[in-house]
Every structure is written in C-alpha cells, then in structure tokens.
C-alpha cells in the first residue's frame, strides 16, 4: 500500500515537472512578481537599448533620420579606420600603464595605512579626497603642475637644467601624464577596498608566521598577498573596466573649453575608444558607426574579463 502511494506521488511529481515547463508554479509566479519592478526596468532600459544599439551598429543612422540597414558596412569601415586602431592602441597603452601602477600603489598605501599610526584617519581621508573630487577640480590641480608656462613640473625641470616639456601637448607624454593624474585620483578608492581586505586577514596567521620566524617581507609575501588575492582580483577587474571606459578625464584634460571635437589630441595621441565613440556619435552624428565601436569595446572587455576569471583560478584563494 505504502509502496503504491509512493509510486503514485512519483508519478505526480513527474507530471508536475512536466507542467512546470509549460506554466510557472505558484512560487515562480510569486518570484516573478517580486522582481517585476527590476524586470520591467531591465527590459525597457537595458535589454531594449542593448538590442537597439546592436541594430544601429548594422545601420547608417544620423539621429536626425531613421536608421537604414547597411549590414556589415560599419564594421568594415572600422577595420580600415586608422584612428580606430590608434584609439584601441592608446586605450591598451593607458590600461597597461594604469592598472598595475594604481594596483601596486593602492596596496602599498593600504598596508601603510593599516598600521597603528598617529593621524591615521587624516592620511586615509587625504588619499580619499581626490576620489570624491570632480574631474574639473582635478584638472585645475593637474594644470598647476603640468601647465607648460606656469606649472611646477617645468619649474623643476629648469632647476635641474633640463628642457621644459609640453606635457599634455606632447604626443609621447600625453598618456603617461594622463595616467599619472588618473592614478592620483583613483588610488584612494582602491586603497579603501584593499584596506577592507587587509582587515579581514586573521591576526593569528601573522602570529603563527612570526613564531615560525618570518620577517616583515615574508609575512607580506606568504600571508597577506595570498589572503587578499580575492580583493586584488576585484581591484584588477574594476580598474581594467574603468580604464577601458575612460572618457571624462580625457575629455576635460585634452579638449579646450569643453569642445568635444578638440579632445583626444595632440594628433589623436590621447584618443581612446570611448572618446572616439562619443565624438563619432554625438559630434559627427554617425550613431551607427559609434554603436559598432561600442560593441567592439564590449566584446574586448568581455574577453578580457573572461581571461581574468580563468586566470584567477591559478592565483586567487578564497577562504572556505
């Protein structure tokens, strides 16, 4: 009898699961209802716009007239466009300089400010202030240093008997200068993330290491680094994404008086993908072309993040 019942319920559940595929269970409905505000937001403002931009990337669209399907034309043009390749190269260069510099510096600062120092809070705040300042404010600070006429940097060079430089107007220096300023502005934020990671490292591990006779460097290398590797991974992914999307800084620092068509100079030496996209789309009304750039940018970021995720298995340890 009991066995019979069991087989009956078995059949029942089988039927149920079959039904489930057709219509949602009551729990599923509840679930959908609960997430509906976000779902609607997602469909209207994310999925729809994503699909629209995908469609635009295959069409000729000047915003003022309806888009016209042109197939792969935009992507073909993109491949032959030297400025696109240059901005891709510049973006990569910017990232390669920026990500390691900022990450290492943020880690050093975090370790330093994780000690029991006098005035610790002051130093932490001091490093965080650039993070909350707007790029326009940062621009003025940077200008005080890198202004070719009145800046401190050239004063220093002259004092040591060196040639003054054009900084932001020098094709070879413009990206390093931009990176330097970006690190100055961004390092505080990453430092805070590292600080949180550092504070999660259990004290007893350090004690154990000390008993084993480990010095400061060994403790850092064999305790701190592996235990904050999860944080380091997060910092790396975040900084890579932000540099690929760098726009405001370059727009403000290389343009004149907010003129978008003037940004990215000299001679496109600081033209990065986001800036090029914006210029093509909003200043020159080539929205289809701009959408194609956006999708290429998306694919690149997606691949890089995938690689980072794959690689993390090799070096990132999460505490179980």
């Amino acid at each position: 009898m009991i066995g019979n019942l069991k087989s009956q319920t078995n059949i029942q559940t089988q039927v149920n699961t079959k039904k489930k595929r057709k219509s949602l269970s009551s729990e599923g409905k509840w679930g959908l209802l609960m997430i509906s505000p976000y779902l609607i937001h997602f469909i209207v403002f994310i999925a729809f716009t994503l699909l629209a931009s995908l469609y635009f990337s295959f069409s000729s669209y000047d915003m003022l007239n309806p888009p016209e399907w042109v197939g792969l034309e935009n992507y073909n043009k993109l491949i032959q466009d030297p400025v696109f390749w240059k901005s891709l190269k510049n973006t990569a260069y910017f990232t390669i300089l920026f990500v390691p510099t900022q990450t290492i510096l943020a880690l050093i600062l975090a370790v330093a400010l994780n000690q029991s120092l006098k005035g610790l809070k002051f130093f932490r705040i001091a490093h965080f202030i650039p993070v909350i300042s707007s790029w326009t404010v940062v621009l003025y600070v940077a200008d005080a240093i890198f202004n070719p006429r009145f800046g401190l940097a050239n004063d220093l060079l002259l004092k040591f008997g060196l040639e003054p430089q054009k900084w932001l107007n020098d094709e070879h220096l413009v990206i390093p200068v931009l990176v330097l300023v970006a690190v100055w502005k961004g390092v505080g934020y990453m430092m805070v993330i590292f600080l949180a990671g550092l504070q999660n490292v259990p004290e007893d591990l350090y004690e154990a290491a000390e008993i084993e006779g480990a010095g400061v460097i060994q403790k850092f290398r064999y305790v701190t680094v592996p235990l904050i590797s999860g944080t380091t991974f997060l910092v790396l992914v975040l900084s890579t994404i932000t540099t690929f999307q760098a726009f405001e800084q370059i727009y403000v620092m290389t343009g004149n008086s907010g003129d978008i068509t003037a940004a990215g100079g000299p001679n496109n030496a600081s033209m990065v993908l986001m800036l090029y996209l914006f210029q093509q789309g909003f200043a020159f009304l080539k929205m289809g072309y701009a959408s194609a750039i956006a999708w290429i940018l998306f694919i690149i970021l997606f691949v890089i993040t995938l690689i980072q995720v794959k690689l993390q298995k090799k070096w990132v340890h999460y505490e179980k």
Binding site: S26, S36, M63, R149, P164, K166, S257, P266, A283
Partner: protein
Amino acid sequence: MSVKRLSKLMAVLLGVFMLILSGCSQKTNQEGGSDSGSSSKTTEITLGFYSSGSADKKMNEIIAQFEKEHPNIKIKTQNAPYQQFFQKLDTQIAGGNAPDVWLSDGVFVQKYAERGAAKDLTELINKDLNKDDYYGLDFNKGPEGKYWAVPQGIQIAALFYNKDMFDKAGVDYPDESWTWEDLKKAGAKLTIDTSGKTADESGFNASSVNQYGLTFFNITEGWMTVLKSYGGGVLGDDLKKSIVDSPENKEAVNYIVDGMERGIFTDPSDLQAFQSPMSPFPSQTAAMRIGIYARVLAANETGVNYDVTVLPKGPDGKRFSPVIANSWIISNKTSDEKAKAAWEWIKYWVSEDDVQKQWAELGEAVPVKKSVANSDLFLNSGDKPKNKQAFLDSFDFAGTLDVNAVWSEWVKVMGDNLNRAFLNETTVDKALENADKEVQDVLDEFYNK
C-alpha cells in the same frame, strides 16, 4: 491575497505602465493633428535656445513682450548652456520631439538643413522680409540657393589691438592699409620674451615668450581667415570638394608657421598654458587678436585699453572676414500652424526695432537689422571698442567658413593636420597633402555614398 489575484493585479499594473509609455510617444502627434483645425485658439510653440547669464534674462523678457503683443501665441522655452543645448537638441530631433523653433549656431545650420531637420524658409523670406534690410541672410543659403534659417545675431571678425602695448612699443596702430606681412612686422616688435627682448632683436628666446604679438586660434580666429585672404580656402564653391592642396594655402600656412616659430603668434601648445584659448588677449598677454564681435565682452570685462580695425589684406590685396550668422531654424517636423506661429516670432525678432535694440544693448552680436546696426545705439554706445564701424565695413568682404553638413568633422581633420605643421611635426607640404585627402574622405562619406 491569492496568487491568481496578484497576477491579475500585476497584469493591470503592466497595462497601466504600457499605457503611460504609449501615451508619452503619442502626445506630440496628437497635438499636431488637433492644432491644424481652428486658428482663433492659442497656439503653443516650443522655442529652444542656448544662453547664459544676462542673455538668458533678456531673451525671456523679449519673449514675454512677444506674447503680450501676440495673445494667441504662447511660447514654451527650453534652454541650456551651449554644449548641452546641442547634445539635447540632437537627441530630441531623434526622438521626434524637437522644439518647433530653435536658435542654431551658424556653423550648424547646414548640418540640420542637409539632413532634413530644418524647414525651407525661402518662400516665407521672399514674401515677408526685404532682404536688403538685414545682414547675413545669404550666409545661411545652401549651395542650391535655398534659405534655411534667419539670423538672430551676427558674428563677424575684425582685428583687435591693445593700444597700451602699441604705445609702449612705439608702434603705429594698425589700419586698413595693413597686409598680413605688416602685421607680422609690427607683431615682432610687440613680442617680448622673459628677459625683455623683442622678437626682432638678436638673442630673443622664442620658447619663453611673455607677451605675444598675435594670438591665433583654430579656424575662425586663426587659419581660415589667413588662408582665404591669401586666396586659398578649404572647400570649392559647391562645398563638396576639397581645395586644400593649393599654392595659395601653402603660402598662407608658411606665413603662419614662420610667425609661430619666431614666437610672434601663439602656437597650439602655447595656448594650452591658458585657462581658455580665448584668454591671451583679454588677459593682456597678446597685443593683437583676430576676434569675432562677441570677443568685445571679455575684453571689456577685464578692462583692456583696445580698439578694432578691419583685418589685414593678403599679398594680392584680397581681404577676408569670417562671419557666423547664429540663426533661427524652424523644425521641419512641426505642424503648419505651429510653423506659422514660429515664423511670427522670427519676424518679430528681426524686424521690430525695439527688439533689435534691446538685443544690441547686450553687446553679444552685431544686430541683424541694418538700420539698428548703423544707428548710434550700436556704433556709439560708449563701450569699447570705439571703431565698431570696422565690423560693419567688414561685411563688404565677409564670407562663411565653408559651412556644410559635415563641417565639424572636416574642421577637425583639417585642424589636426595644420596643428602638426604648426608644431613642426611635419612639413607644410605634407600637412596640406594629407589634409586634402582626409577632408575629401569626410566629404565623400556624406555626399557620395
């Protein structure tokens, strides 16, 4: 509450949401449809303009006055600072809810016209405006001879000079006899390095200049003016062909590069040192500038002792003054009734003496109506510069900046190439050869698809 009732509620909510969405998108169409019926009821039009500070206030006053005199037209305004205004405008046109009439920078008129966003005003202008009464109508005419906009205020360039600097250096003030070479010669005496030497003395250091002879920036107040007075230019008459690689342009660019090498003219990297590329003249770091009319505002604000004269002649006696007619455009998508109301506004703006006078008092632009521009109110307002007549005289040899639908794009390509020559990163010949090709590419992409 049961799941069934809940999901019903959800469906209703979704329905309401959809209704709101569709309501948003249909609103403009419905308005257009119902408006075209009767003419006695009030018409509401949207007017877009870019402005800041005092201009903003004045514009609203004039609008209020217009509404009082035209009780059946109501104006809803939409304004923002320059950059934001145009970004928003393009998105609005894309979304099908552009203002019915808007103020466009003169260099963008063709961008809207050739893409079908601007209404053809040829008939209305022929019917209602006496063209001889106004400056600048022809500057908005496309190569096909149609009028796309009506000027709101005119920007035309003249040579600004700092009297104190000329007096100190003992150099005669510029006048209409000057050629560009004369300007450079005088400029050399007015260019002073950090050790106090002028550019025509030996031992002058061109890389640490304290005071420049001429500040030189970008297209309008820079290269286009020189190129055209040397007989060159960028686009041919149909505005679809590049004429960049010409002997006249070479001569002109060589003239500019020489001036920059000698430190007399500001080069693009010199300008980086200033808060804005516009600031050398008002901050008294340059003795002369090529300046459009609006530049008097900054110069008056900082109290420079200056005056203006017509721009110098080229080697063959040719003169050129760049002009930008910032203009009213009527949206091509608006209903007939709204277009009529918008046209009333434009007519009011250009033909009413009172409006023209009020706007002239702001001192932002040369008035569109000739009778007002030639009156004491504009010419002898008491504000500097004294010789405002020079701006009006310049209309005799004024021309546009070869404005077409892809103006911003070719200006960038041209400017990038010229800047490389200005900074000695390439030769003048190569810069022009390359610019010629790249400008043509931009033109072909739009005109010969």
